[in-house]
Symmetry: C2
Subunit: 403 residues, 2 copies
Amino acid sequence: MRAKDRTELRFGGAPFNKIRCRRAYSIHADAASTVKLAEIDPSKLSVTKTTTPKDLLPPEELVFGRSFTDHMLSLEWTASDGWLQPRITPYQNLSLDPATCVFHYAFECFEGMKAYIDSKGQVRLFRPDKNMIRLNKSSARIALPTFDGEALTHLIGELVKLDKRFIPTQRGYSLYIRPTMIGTQRTLGVGPPGSALLYVIASPVGPYYPTGFKAVSLEATDYAVRAWPGGVGDKKLGANYAPCIVPQMQAASRGFHQNLWLFGEEEYITEVGTMNLFVAMKNKETGQNELLTAPLDGTILEGVTRDSVLALARERLQPKGWMVTERKVTMKELADAADEGRMLEVFGAGTAAVVSPVRRICWRDRLVECGLDDHSEAGPVAQQMKDWIEGIQHGDEEGHPWR
Amino acid sequence: MRAKDRTELRFGGAPFNKIRCRRAYSIHADAASTVKLAEIDPSKLSVTKTTTPKDLLPPEELVFGRSFTDHMLSLEWTASDGWLQPRITPYQNLSLDPATCVFHYAFECFEGMKAYIDSKGQVRLFRPDKNMIRLNKSSARIALPTFDGEALTHLIGELVKLDKRFIPTQRGYSLYIRPTMIGTQRTLGVGPPGSALLYVIASPVGPYYPTGFKAVSLEATDYAVRAWPGGVGDKKLGANYAPCIVPQMQAASRGFHQNLWLFGEEEYITEVGTMNLFVAMKNKETGQNELLTAPLDGTILEGVTRDSVLALARERLQPKGWMVTERKVTMKELADAADEGRMLEVFGAGTAAVVSPVRRICWRDRLVECGLDDHSEAGPVAQQMKDWIEGIQHGDEEGHPWR
């Protein structure tokens, strides 16, 4: 039936006499997958172990996403059969026809998640359910197949257990896991892919700040726009990344580490580089401490770390008198807070760095200072969040539901 | 020096005391390629011919972009060396590490162009200079390398000559050529790719309308937005395609062939599916015939067929009293023209179909009829443009500069 849908699409839809002209108000991205095809079946997993195990790199030589473990997990999907047998194989190249649609039309989405070794030597994944939900949303938005998140989490667990020796045990170290889905149809026609490949690779990584926090400087960017209403900025699609590199290089050429993406004439703050942004300031009306971030309005990535920071803030800062809010904030509001001595701190939040403190933001012709003393590299909220989240990740908080 | 730039970018840019805070007003996408590396050198071309030539398909079995010629052209680029030796090899799979950046961050752009056999049996490319300029713009916008367009055109000519037997000679048939550039760096860090692959494949194609024009119906789409000012909608990036498929499937499920992408509260018409849009109507003020299309404001693909239609209209319709204009037009203006009997015809323009007549557009709760009689599948302007352009493509107009 999915295959049938696709044929109809390609050859023109219903005859016109059946058309009811009506306005569509929203995207129902799951419209394509109404029919039962084979689901992912972890019991069918085949495992082929490598015969040439890699040497482990010394922890200090680990670079994010540059070296990978011995194995990878692969699952093929076809529109006629659904999900085929899961396979764990030696890490190896993909062999793809040059006409494959992933190379031409960016049928690709991914996740970033981490595995840790806790104090008892056990492997922990941090909130994998959130990543599975998001990957399904990303995938459906570009007409790639959806899947059973628990089944994939189980299979990722098998991969991680097999390659457990690659997970560094030191605090701040982890195994970065990259589930990736690509369209594999071998034709140049622009339409929903008839086949796809979901694969998972894993890279041992060190702490983002090996020698402690290092606060970054941002360039508020309005000449390039990362995301817009009705677009795909809230999904983890490859399409959201390549267009951001040249603005990033230009910010770097002027001495700034990342772009702070502004949106619209109002210059709303949205995200920083590839992270969500948090601002701690004294509220102008009440003088109360406020931790705020942009709302999930379709232009903001639904960050797992963002969600974790919000949840921890509501659980542990709110009782201490903090307001925790998701609302639209303009760059001018930030600058006013800085001018009026109400700015406390600013930080990015993402899987790679957990939190990333911000020292200052270049906005038009001025520098907005973000509350850090010259000799300080992180504010207390950023430091506290990092400690809490890493503690949960490494299993210090016995029985926490996120592990 | 390019490699040096990249290192600086990754490790944080200039020290802060060198920073001048200034506002950036536009994207200078060529910022990354200020230094002379090796250019494409056609004299170094190596050719490995296939030992297993394919059978030619009967012309009636040709499907757009599904079967390919015997050979492909490949050029590798590295940030340290520039363009390496061009190679023509048998058509073959690409073997890529699963961490390659094209799979994760959509470092990919492409072109669509056509080769024809003229009445003297010679191979003709249609306006390849325009495609080379656009591919360079697309590539630079996502931090992929630029290149000498004449050198690549020469190499494409070599590929087409080698595979000349695949070019159908019948009127309306051609060889569709797909130059594609992908980032090939094998790390997950988000930054400018340190290596790339430019490859060219070719697919023999039949006429888009084998049995004559077939007018399409469009759904005016506002809930999903293809492009945004400050985005990349004017570049031929993979990133612009995957996000449009679900809206296309939804339009198809309601019986419409394509989306007419509207923009903004004003509901400006922008593009149709993957084509530019042309409207012929009687001007409200003057009653004069007007052929209009959306201006190149950064949200519109700079179509080669769009440019050709405009040039031919200025050369051949303007002397007959037509106005030819590039301006923003709202959907309401179209509907008013239809209501007031001023609508003449509407058509899309693109490489695949050349022109594609539109019968009606579903806009909110109404159907806007686009000037075609029930028994007619194309208006006179669309028909005339198709005849003129195909005539030039097939060499009927002796010495035309576009061949």
